[in-house]
């Protein structure tokens, strides 16, 4: 990911590379479309412009007017205002809606550490009961200024009513045995033979592989700006979640198992399982499937689109094994995580979806002799994950289904973004009119 420097006040955040999700946008060079503004002389940026604006105001503002504007307050939390926000601001807004709804716990067993990702739901109180209201201390100076009674009434009154919090499992990942990884080393040796063949792909996929998905789903900043915002947000969210899981599991990389792996790219410093590339690629692939199908465009209802998008995701994942950075088990865990997170995001975004999934990667059951095969984790016809993958009684992946709790609060922001993105995949209204 590239470091994004920018002139906007928010750019302090971009010092955290985690927040460089915006750079995902730049992977499309999507927002360089805004460089059109530079035709106007750089917008509000630059000290020269500021000085010019000062003298400019001196020249024309004149004496202060006794002016009473006919101005109204803006409606609070109205998604209609989202398009007026800068891209970076929107990205933070979306991210907050996703990242604020998950939390983590871990089982720190030396032999088999596991990490659990929980989805949290805020359940709003019904009819004022059930919620807990925090009382604020009104302080000693209450009533000092009788002339500003209404303000003080808010200060002195009860605080915001706390919604209740519900926790449900979202993704659980446990680490395979060290012997399983040792057995997987033969795949590192075999796949290394493909490096001359896959080199250009591997290097191109050092950045998020949007171009590869755009080569199947028709995406372009002009045509599908909101789809790209959704995917960038999803990718950013996934990368944060993946880093938490990787840190907890602390899986060692192939390069630590043998001096002969000699990866063709630098091995990232974070843990090996799950593969972040697999997680993000399968997440993006499945979100695209969901958008295409939700748009009800006839050709996108054919599962062949899902099949191809999943092939693409698998290719991205396997390329990391070719490069020498990941075990096949990493791809399996990442794919499971990405597919499950796609369901989570879709449910967050689409008020019509009430079902949710819980995916578990059971590392202890993963057979080291096994290569990664996405078909074991996803059914393209149904856009569904099988209940278990691997041996029936010792599956290495399990997926459960559930429903959102009653009263769970949705996200108007994400619902707005989702609708905009879905609309980008729909045929134009005139389509099919026969004219």
């Amino acid at each position: 990911m590239t470091y994004q420097s920018g002139g906007s006040p928010e750019s302090a955040f971009s010092a955290f590379s985690a927040f460089s999700a915006f750079s995902a946008f730049s992977a499309f060079s999507a927002f360089s479309a805004f460089s059109a503004f530079s035709a106007f002389g750089g917008g509000a940026g630059g000290p020269g412009t500021a000085e010019a604006l000062i003298t400019n105001r001196d020249g024309i503002a004149g004496a202060p007017l006794n002016y009473d504007p006919a101005i109204r307050p803006a409606p609070p939390a109205d998604p209609a205002g989202i398009p007026r926000l800068a891209a970076e601001v929107r990205a933070r807004l979306y991210f907050a809606e996703l990242a604020g709804r998950v939390t983590f716990s871990a089982t720190l067993d030396q032999d088999r550490p596991a990490v659990h990702l929980w989805q949290t739901d805020l359940v709003l109180p019904e009819g004022g009961s059930g919620g807990h209201r925090y009382e604020e201390d009104a302080g000693d100076n209450a009533g000092d200024n009788p002339g500003e009674e209404s303000d003080h009434a808010e200060h002195r009154g009860p605080g915001p009513e706390a919604p209740s919090l519900s926790l449900e499992p979202l993704v659980s990942v446990s680490l395979p045995d060290i012997d399983t990884f040792k057995e997987q080393m033969r795949y590192l040796a075999a796949y290394a033979d493909l490096r001359p063949d896959r080199g250009p792909e591997i290097l191109a996929q050092l950045s998020p592989p949007f171009a590869f998905f755009a080569s199947i789903g028709f995406m372009d900043p002009a045509r599908t700006p909101y789809t790209m915002e959704l995917l960038a947000t999803a990718g950013q969210f996934a990368s944060v979640a993946v880093q938490k899981v990787k840190y907890t599991l602390a899986g060692k990389r192939p390069i630590e198992f043998s001096p002969q792996v000699q990866p063709m790219i630098l091995t990232p410093t974070h843990g090996t399982l799950p593969s972040g590339h697999a997680t993000e690629a399968f997440l993006l692939a499945r979100l695209l499937v969901k958008l295409q199908r939700a748009a009800k465009t006839p050709q996108y209802q054919d599962p062949v689109w899902a099949e191809m998008l999943m092939r693409q995701a698998a290719r991205v994942a396997v390329n990391r094994t070719v490069a020498g950075g990941h075990f096949p088990a990493d791809s399996a865990a990442g794919a499971l995580m990405g597919l499950t997170l796609a369901d989570f995001i879709a449910e967050r975004c689409d008020p019509g979806v009430r079902t949710r999934s819980h995916g578990r990667f059971l590392g202890g059951n993963f057979d080291g002799a096994q290569d990664f095969d996405w078909h074991m984790l996803y059914d393209a016809a149904e856009d569904s994950q099988p209940r278990h993958s691997g041996e029936r009684h010792h599956p290495w992946a399990r997926v459960g289904r559930g429903k959102a709790p009653r009263g769970a609060e949705g996200s108007a922001v994400l619902a707005w973004l989702w609708d905009k993105a879905v609309a980008e995949w729909a045929d134009l209204p005139g389509h099919g009119a026969g004219g």
Binding site: M185, R186, Y187, L188, A189, A190, Y191, D193, L194, P196, D197, D302, P303, V304, A306, E307, M308, R311, D371, D373, H375, A380, A381
Partner: protein, 664 residues
């Protein structure tokens, strides 16, 4: 490095085989078997009995591939492929051995887990095919049999049989070496791996055992480019649109492990085994009139070594199978070694050769000095002295049994060998072999030969006026394959590589007295009397590519001149100088790419011959030569020399990729 020469221990008839068999364990895979071609003086059943009697402790010391089961008691004189342990082969290589073996050619050392005793083959039912059917046999490396060009529908393969010669050791139902997929099984796998109209080719090749990802070495079908797929599509690829001709495919995929043998490389035994396996299955097919179905077999591989007179074991095996299968035709490429500097002709009384042993060569290098046909052995016919880089000159080694010398390093470990051997009837020629150890190894247990220029002094004498023919055996590892072989070559300063304008010289300068020659680089496989041998051709300008190897071959025993001057014809191997190669299948359906070489020209001629056979014509070397002579005048420029292009340039349309010139 302190080097010295010591006496040669007693050794066998074929110097290269003797050297390779005597390598220390560090050069060999675990629990090694060797593939080998044997020329038999007894029946197979008798051979087996004798080996069991002579090596009771090995049980077994030799495994007969199951394809030989029907031929166990047939007449002696046959050339067959077997798998055997090193000591058994050392005995077989001993002149006058009691096992009934007159000559051996060593193939590759194979890890024991890949070879096993297998159950006899079941006999296939007879199948009657339409009258215009021609079976297409292809033996090559990995072949992407699920490519659309080898299917007539989504799950209808045109591959009747695929012999995958390297299987996972735990693969179910495998034979003594590798496993066989028949069409019903292929179709079943195609159905199982098709989803929503898309074939999951990764899954298919895994299930078929074509891709195993074991880490043992390159699996060509896992790559975008695979030589075998490309060749097979040029010979027998047709789009699945109903236009396919009746060309069922029988194919064999050679094991990549052959290229990993660091003691030397010889494909002949596995090639022989593949030929026998395909022919065994081809027997089940009949035309409606009861006649056997014609079959064109293409093998787009070449080598540098061998006697080059049609008497090599593989040449004899092919001639024998052609005798026994009148419906069979064999097509071979001329080879790409024209400029490889691997051939020399010694005819002056004193000759000097400079052999360049490259640094970082992880495989052994072998040079064969073939004496002319002689009814009497004359020791003075050839005397060699060899001086390694920085080392002392060897004692003279002569064309006399037992003559030889061993070069050892300061610790007394052998790093090179000079040895004389005798090749009995029908070759009847002596050979002095110079074998060098690798010049580099990752295992410190391997003693290394010095890299650099080895000086070879040859003195010719005796009564024969015929020259001594020299070839360096092929050792370069093909792109992508492991092995680390780097081709040794002759580096004589008299060899002129470029003409006055700086262009590479594709033919030897007139009147040259340099012993290093382009003439005579024709592939050692391509020297038999009946296979059709094909040179390359740049289609647009009508010139032969520089790499396309040249004849002549050495006259066969008793003949005044060789029975071929060179290839039989030249055919498209490159579309134009700017578009090298021809377009044909990549490793996945829908993918096409360019490869060049005589390997591409041969299958195009195989395709051309199949069309002739389907029309009921008598297709043989003469038929091809006449067709080439007929179309030569349609190309610009004069007819190329027969030593490089045979009877002329044969015009064959590109089957894929060039609009307007493909099949209708």
């Amino acid at each position: 490095m302190t080097l010295r020469w010591i006496d040669l221990p007693p050794q066998g008839a074929d110097p290269v085989a003797a050297f390779r068999l005597s390598r220390p364990d560090a050069h060999l895979p675990e629990d090694p078997w060797w593939s080998a071609l044997l020329a038999l003086e007894v029946s197979l059943a008798e051979l087996q009995a004798r080996v069991e009697a002579a090596f009771p402790e090995m049980a077994p010391g030799m495994i007969l591939p199951e394809v030989h089961a029907p031929d166990l008691v047939v007449q002696p004189g046959r050339v067959v492929t077997v798998f055997a342990r090193g000591p058994v082969l050392e005995e077989m290589n001993r002149p006058g051995n009691g096992l009934g073996v007159s000559a051996i050619q060593l193939g590759a050392a194979i890890a024991g887990e890949h070879v096993q005793q297998a159950a006899p083959l079941e006999e296939d039912d007879q199948i009657v095919l339409p009258q215009e059917t021609v079976l297409m046999g292809v033996i090559d490396d990995g072949i992407a049999i699920a490519h659309e060009l080898f299917r007539s529908g989504p799950a209808e393969s045109r591959v009747e049989l695929a012999y995958v010669m390297e299987s996972a050791p735990d693969a179910r139902k495998r034979g003594s070496y590798g496993h066989v997929l028949k069409r019903r099984r292929i179709d079943k796998l195609l159905r199982r791996h098709s989803r929503h109209g898309l074939l999951d080719e990764e899954g298919f090749y895994r299930a078929a055992g074509v891709i195993r990802m074991t880490g043992e070495g390159l699996e060509p079908v896992s790559q975008r480019r695979s030589h075998g797929t490309h060749v097979c599509s040029l010979a027998a690829g047709y789009p699945p649109d109903g236009s396919a001709r009746e060309r069922p495919i029988l194919c064999a995929m050679l094991p990549a492990s052959v290229t990993r043998d660091v003691t030397g490389r010889s494909l002949e035994p596995v090639l022989g085994l593949a030929v026998d396996r395909l022919l065994h299955h081809a027997r089940r097919y009949r035309l409606p009139d009861g006649e056997p179905v014609p079959m064109v077999l293409n093998f787009s591989y070449g080598n540098f070594g061998g006697p080059h007179d049609g008497t090599s074991l593989i040449a004899r095996l092919i001639e024998d199978r052609l005798d026994r299968h009148p419906a069979l035709r064999v097509v071979l490429p001329a080879g790409n070694g024209n400029l490889a500097q691997v051939h020399a002709t010694l005819s002056a009384p004193q000759e000097e050769l400079r052999l360049m042993a490259r640094p970082d060569d992880r495989t052994a290098s072998h040079v064969q000095f073939w004496l002319p046909y002689q009814t009497e052995r004359e020791a003075e016919a050839l005397t060699l002295r060899v001086r390694p880089p920085g080392g002392p000159e060897s004692p003279p080694v002569q064309a006399r049994p037992g003559s030889g010398a061993v070069l050892v390093d300061a610790r007394g470990r052998e790093v090179a060998r000079l040895a004389y051997g005798w090749h009995p009837s029908p070759t009847v020629r002596g050979q002095i072999g110079l074998s060098l150890h690798p010049t580099a190894a990752l295992d410190s247990a391997v003693a290394l030969a010095p890299a650099g220029q080895w000086q070879i002094h040859a003195a010719l004498g005796g009564s024969s006026p015929a020259p001594v023919q020299v070839w360096v055996l092929r050792e370069e590892s093909p792109p992508g394959y492991r092995g680390g072989g780097r081709q040794a070559y002759f580096d004589n300063s008299c060899y002129r590589r470029f003409d006055a304008l700086g262009a590479p010289l594709a033919v030897d300068p007139a009147e040259t007295d340099c012993p290093v020659r382009r003439a005579g680089t024709l592939s050692g496989f391509a020297t038999g009397a009946r296979p059709v041998v094909v040179a390359g051709l740049t289609e647009r300008n009508g010139l032969l590519p520089d790499y396309s190897a040249a004849g002549p071959i050495t006259p066969t025993r008793g003949a005044r001149s060789a029975d071929r001057k060179g290839p039989d014809a030249a055919a498209r191997s490159d579309d134009s100088p700017a578009l090298p190669g021809v377009i044909a299948a990549g490793s996945r359906s829908g993918s096409y790419l360019r490869l060049n070489g005589t390997s591409m020209a041969a299958p195009l001629v195989a395709r051309f011959m199949a069309d002739g056979l389907a029309r009921g014509e008598t297709v043989d070397r003469t038929w091809v030569a006449e067709a080439a002579a007929g179309s030569d005048s349609t190309y610009p420029g004069p007819r190329p020399a027969p030593s490089r292009a045979g009877s002329g340039r044969l015009r064959i349309d590109a089957p894929f990729g060039v609009p307007g010139s493909g099949d209708p």
